[in-house]
């Protein structure tokens, strides 16, 4: 994976045509978002002629938006979308992706994924991969996250078995998707709950990139098991019809068994009636069995009913309260000459006298 092939070299020579969008949600990130933006901007300027950095502010309350908008005056191609309510990181990723306009969309956890992975992902794209999942390895800063990661890995193994959709079990939110892949899910009405797995529905083969995570925010993210469990349920139920099929099968089996048991009771009663207590045992078993099946069915139906409820309500899933773009002030013309320009290679030549 580290070897530079001729395909990759050819890809690099044609890079000026490739438009890259880098999408990241942010929440209460005022302490570190500036570092992220500046580093990402510098890297993208160095490698790509056209790009955009898309940030989705998940209803921050610590002035993150002000920091970003201040940076928009000096960093070009920085797009910010502010949400009216907190939607959670996975949904925010999807929102960012559907607003991104790049030929290639890279999603990343701005607090925990290193900037350098962008070029590595793009290299795999040049080699012909349309989906590249990042697999985050390395220190996770504490027992909580290790347990969480193990559970997450286990969950995705189960997920693969249950739904038949192919995702690498230890995937992170760092990934690259081609424009074609992104376009396949912009019409999916459940897309906001399906971020981890949504590229898998295309069936397009994927590549992986192992990388070491880092901690830009200085503090590991809090793990919310309830929220994770809730998202896990959505993933299982909204990815595939299989759970519902099993439910149908299970209900049928339960029904057949109940029927069979009822028949058994009748037979017993006819031939051994006087040995039994006054019908108490069979009645209890029958009732218990029936209630078991009923509750199972009710649980699943309840989840689906929730979805039906949401869809018939037709509430807008999110509202953009503000959208701002970079406008570089004319009098700060010197900032148009980015620091990376003199860095050699076949970039535009600075004419003599044209200093920053």
């Amino acid at each position: 994976m580290q070897k530079v092939t001729s395909e990759v070299e050819a890809g690099r020579a044609a890079r000026s045509d490739l438009f890259v969008s880098v999408v990241a949600p942010v929440w209460n990130a005022s302490q570190w978002v500036q570092t992220y933006i500046e580093e990402m901007s510098a890297l993208l300027e160095r490698h790509f002629k056209d790009f955009e950095i898309v940030l989705v502010d998940d209803h921050s309350s610590d002035g993150t938006v002000a920091v970003i908008e201040r940076l928009q005056r000096s960093c070009r191609n920085l797009q910010l979308y502010c949400l009216a309510r907190r939607v959670g990181m996975d949904s925010a990723f999807v929102i960012g992706m559907e607003h991104a306009i790049g030929d290639v969309v890279i999603t990343m956890d701005a607090a925990r994924d290193p900037i350098g992975t962008v070029t590595q992902l793009i290299d795999r794209y040049y080699a012909g991969q349309e989906i590249v999942y990042g697999l985050r390895a390395g220190r996770d800063g504490g027992g909580g996250r290790t347990v969480y990661r193990r559970l997450s890995k286990l969950f995705f193994r189960v997920y693969r078995g249950v739904t038949g959709e192919d995702v690498p079990p230890d995937l992170s939110s760092l990934r690259l998707l081609s424009r074609r892949v992104v376009n396949t899910f912009t019409e999916n009405r459940d897309r906001y709950n399906l971020f981890p797995v949504i590229a898998a529905f295309t069936g397009i083969p994927y590549a992986t990139l192992s990388y070491a995570g880092m901690e830009r925010s200085g503090a590991p993210r809090q793990v919310d098991y309830f929220d994770s469990a809730s998202r896990a349920i959505y993933l299982l139920l909204l990815s595939s019809k299989r759970p519902l099929r099993w439910m149908t099968a299970g209900s049928l089996v339960g029904a057949i068994l109940s029927l069979a048991y009822a028949a058994y009771v009748v037979v017993l009663h006819l031939f051994r009636g006087n040995e039994l207590a006054e019908g108490w045992a069979s009645l209890s078993m029958q009732v218990a069995g029936l209630f078991f099946v009923l509750f199972l069915v009710l649980a699943v139906m309840s989840e689906y009913l929730i979805r039906v409820f949401v869809h018939t309500q037709n509430r807008p899933p999110y509202l953009i309260t503000r959208e701002t773009s970079s406008l570089v002030l004319a009098r700060k013309a010197e900032l148009n000459v980015s620091s990376a320009r003199g860095a050699g290679g076949d970039v535009a030549v600075l004419e003599s006298g044209e200093t920053s």
Binding site: F19, D103, T186, S325, A330
Partner: protein, 377 residues
């Protein structure tokens, strides 16, 4: 103030300057029009989408829209030679992030009397159903700026207006005897009783004259010139109402202009805050990197065929708006006078077909100052 024998100088040879100069000339004044470029209507009057507003473009400003509709028939009659109407005009309402929805747009058009009907299948199919809520066919035309400039040149000649091209007014000062003395960049000077500052972006850049009382904001804007793919030939599309785009025929080059609300402005500054008074110098030094790549990628999400459009060129120009209309659709004409500068007028108009409102303002003011003169005499 009677106009016979009055000397008038119009600074700026854009459409507004030329029309005002002609208007004054017909009323008997001795008019000179001064323009810095080698021809009339070479700057902002040329670098725009050439839209003859039917009112559709301002669904949130009833006033602007309504006046556009009122002015349109008159403009059409008077300048019919310069009007191009052989294309289909489509207005599409975006599904997400639009400030008006389809029903509001229809109601609005009905209220201002603008013809609007649902587009047929052939045109509807061009749009993405996820991103576009409704597709309408409207009646809107464009003007050919080159033909219009030619018409104005002829009309100025007929009105006996002296035209000074490649010429800039550097300073305006009180003349010792009466009226005003204008210093030009070739060292010469001229006298005038009436001075009309119609320089658009340069309205505050003439020496000796104070800035307008209304704050103004400048933007360096880019309009891409493209060749439409065969599937979109003869079509013009505007997506409403928000950070979207529009492409319209551009007759002087035989291409189409593509403008995007988000990517057309490259830089923006307000004179009050940033203190820059000569926007033309800023534009000249500005690094003109095209953002066509951004425009086309966003546009093709709404109308996939536009992805095949071929990029030909870009028009970079300074666009100027009043600060008070920065965030709404209003585009009133600025018409300012100052008691310390009698006879000097600051005129700034943003829409070519609103010229008649400007001419009314000119007449109204002359009438008032004439009666004021009589009173004080």
């Amino acid at each position: 103030m009677r106009l016979e024998g009055a000397r008038a100088v119009v600074v700026g040879g854009g459409f507004y300057g030329a029309c005002i100069a002609e208007h004054l000339g017909r009323r008997g004044a001795a008019v000179t029009i001064v323009e810095r470029e080698p021809g009339l209507m070479a700057r902002a009057s040329y670098c725009n989408q050439a839209r003859l507003h039917g009112g559709y473009h301002y669904p949130r400003s009833f006033g602007t829209a309504y006046r556009s509709r009122l002015n349109f028939p008159r403009f059409r009659r008077e300048f019919s030679r310069a009007i191009v109407d052989d294309f289909v005009k489509i207005y599409a309402i975006a599904r997400a992030n639009s400030k008006v929805n389809a029903r509001q747009f229809q109601t609005f058009c009905r209220n201002i009397g603008a013809p609007l009907k649902l587009a047929g299948d052939r045109h509807r199919k061009l749009f993405s159903r996820t991103h576009i809520e409704a597709v309408f066919e409207a009646e809107e035309f464009v003007f050919d700026a080159a033909v219009l400039a030619q018409m104005m040149t002829e009309r100025l000649e007929q009105a006996n207006v002296t035209t000074r091209l490649c010429c800039r007014v550097l300073e305006v000062a009180r003349d010792a005897n009466r009226g005003w003395r204008l210093a030009l960049d070739d060292g010469s000077g001229m006298n005038a009783d009436l001075v009309y500052n119609c320089t658009y972006s340069g309205i505050n850049a003439i020496g000796g004259l104070p800035p307008t009382q209304h704050g103004i904001r400048h933007e360096v804007t880019e309009m891409a010139l493209v060749e439409l793919p065969a599937e979109l030939a003869g079509l013009s599309v505007t997506v409403m109402d928000g950070p979207f785009f529009s492409f319209m025929p551009f007759p002087p080059r035989g291409l189409s202009t593509l403008s995007h609300v988000r990517y057309t402005p490259h830089a923006s500054w307000s004179e009050a805050v940033d203190g820059v008074r000569d926007p033309y110098a800023t534009l000249e030094q500005f690094e003109k990197d095209t953002r066509f790549g951004y425009m086309i990628r966003d546009a093709r999400r709404f109308i996939p065929s536009i992805g095949e459009a071929r990029y030909r060129d870009s028009l970079f120009e300074v666009k100027t708006v009043l600060l008070r209309n920065e965030f709404d659709d209003g585009r009133p004409i600025l018409f300012e006078t100052s008691p310390q500068y009698p006879g000097v007028y600051w005129v700034l108009g943003s829409k070519i077909d609103n010229i008649y409102d400007a001419l009314s303002a000119v007449d109204e003011d002359l009438k008032q100052s004439s009666s004021a003169h009589q009173k004080s005499a």
